[in-house]
Symmetry: C2
Subunit: 329 residues, 2 copies
């Protein structure tokens, strides 16, 4: 979004917690380990597609920035990544996705059946591990988060009707689908901190998470497909209504509104239809509006960090806002 | 199995705990309540297909028979039923089942997507409710049970190869798929009891659950389809290998073994193929063998109840064994 500033990399954010972060994958492997052949195969495939560990990073930074130094922090970081993984496995199954991070999804490589069961396996392992920590507090936060994510997925199923899908409904969707787990990760990293710091980090994660999803949805309109890894306009192609379109729609002329309606009524819209709607959304100020909202959420997230004492970890949390807002993939 | 004795009904078992059992559906509704339209719709459909409440019955009887009188028992009973429901929703989605208890499944009435998400929704609500009870013990039991059930489902996917599927593998499958939740229900009903009573009830539930599944699998061979509600031989039709076939196979002649192999190699076996294999399984003693195993498990379950003091609830637990072994649906 501001390509003129030096880009912040994930490695920059992770520096203050690198040593502990490097133990997370091993911890994750321990938690999901199975002597059952098929499960072990799926696990090993999942680890190959391992992601950016953004949620564990936030959790570890929250712990570090509050000086809490919770001895269970590596396990907790592995558990939030595991919950994220379980969600992705079911999401891909629900969406019939074929690729994730350039690798075949579980549903495409194994089967729909295996992916439903495997998501359940991973999530129940996460709960077992949290029970083992002998403390209800992380479970209290993360069971609520997991439930919110399912509500978000349900909302997603209904987000295909631009006329009826309001910005308020969009906010509820991205809060549940994306912000809840980022918020929960930050909060669980601050369970040993003061109630004020814990609340600030929870709100920080929520604002950051909403900005994260808005930028994701924006990239679908403006991203370079060679960088994002998916074709521009794929949300429109799947009739997914996101903030740029919601904001643009009431400001469009009748002709453009009809174009949108036509696209939504077409089972497989053409590239030209998609390009025209993307252009119309831009002209009606939809992209700018979404960018503004992401920036306001970023400011909100930034403000929450004032509750913490200055530290390298707090700097990294601030930098994570820039990372989220400026990312191009 | 012994139709000459007076049949024991579910209502007979439920008598000692009827008042509390009647509060379970309302408690279940409270736990899963949602202000979100689609979720509320699915919930209301689920409640219409409400089952026999066998697991809540066992839990309440275990509580009563140990004199524990746990004040949380109605909630715990609702939670085990909820976990059972969540599992059924995912099972039906995995199996692409169209009907369950004579009603359309969630996947057929709504969609595959809705059923995956809804199973996750129900299970995460169960965890939230357990956390609210402020005690890790029920969670410890039930998170392990839930994970075992996913392993059982995975084993089920692989249970299609009669030559490789041994009785040992079958035992592991039914232990994980069915016995674990019956065992967990009995154990969670005895959390306030002595460790000995708790362990006895856990083992009682495990033996009862294995007998339950063996009888289920037997009914697929010998049941009256107008009573069971599904056509005889549907497991064979779906290439599901169960105990009668496992036991019969090594005692069959070469011709019959070839018939079995041919059925397993046929995508859609004919009614005649199925009838022939059912007859061959019977002639080779497969049904008798399975019946014997169910009865031995029933004896084992019965023996475990000797650890409890005599009571109406203990009598009902004993009667539940007869109910399981004698049932015709």
């Amino acid at each position: 979004m501001s390509p003129q500033t030096a880009p912040i990399t994930l490695a920059d954010l992770q520096r203050p917690v690198r040593a502990r972060l490097e133990r997370v994958p091993q911890e994750l492997r321990r938690i999901v380990e199975a002597d059952f052949g098929l499960i072990a195969q799926v696990n090993s495939h999942l680890f190959q597609t391992q992601g950016k560990m953004f949620r564990p990073t936030l959790l570890l930074l929250a712990d570090e920035a509050t000086g809490a130094r919770d001895p269970r922090v590596t396990t907790l970081a592995a558990v939030v990544e595991l919950i994220h993984l379980a969600t992705l496995v079911h999401d891909d199954s629900v969406d019939h996705s074929v690729l994730r991070r350039g690798m075949p999804t579980i549903n495409s490589l194994f089967s729909h059946q295996v992916s439903v069961i495997m998501g359940d396996y991973l999530y129940s392992r996460a709960v077992i591990e949290l029970v083992r920590l002998d403390d209800l507090e992380p479970l209290r936060v993360l069971s609520r988060v997991t439930n919110e994510m399912t509500v978000g997925e349900m909302r997603q199923l209904l987000a295909h009707e631009p006329i009826e899908f309001s910005e308020e409904a969009y906010d509820l969707l991205i809060q549940a689908k994306t912000a809840s787990l980022l918020s929960g990760s930050c909060e669980v990293g601050a369970l040993q901190a003061s109630p004020e710091e814990r609340a600030s980090l929870r709100r920080f994660g929520a604002a950051l998470g909403m900005a994260f999803q808005i930028v994701d949805d924006l990239l679908d309109y403006v991203g370079d497909s060679s960088v994002t890894g998916k074709p521009t306009g794929s949300d429109l192609r799947e009739h997914k209504v996101t903030l740029p379109l919601i904001a643009a729609l009431p400001r469009m002329g009748e002709g453009e509104q009809r174009q949108v309606a036509a696209l939504m009524d077409t089972a497989e819209p053409t590239d030209r239809q998609i390009a025209e709607v993307i252009a119309a959304v831009g002209e009606a100020g939809g992209l700018e509006y979404a960018r503004d909202r992401a920036l306001r959420l970023a400011q909100q997230a930034d403000g929450e960090l004032d509750a913490l004492a200055p530290s390298r970890a707090r700097d990294a949390l601030r930098a994570s806002i820039t990372y989220v807002v400026d990312r191009t993939r």
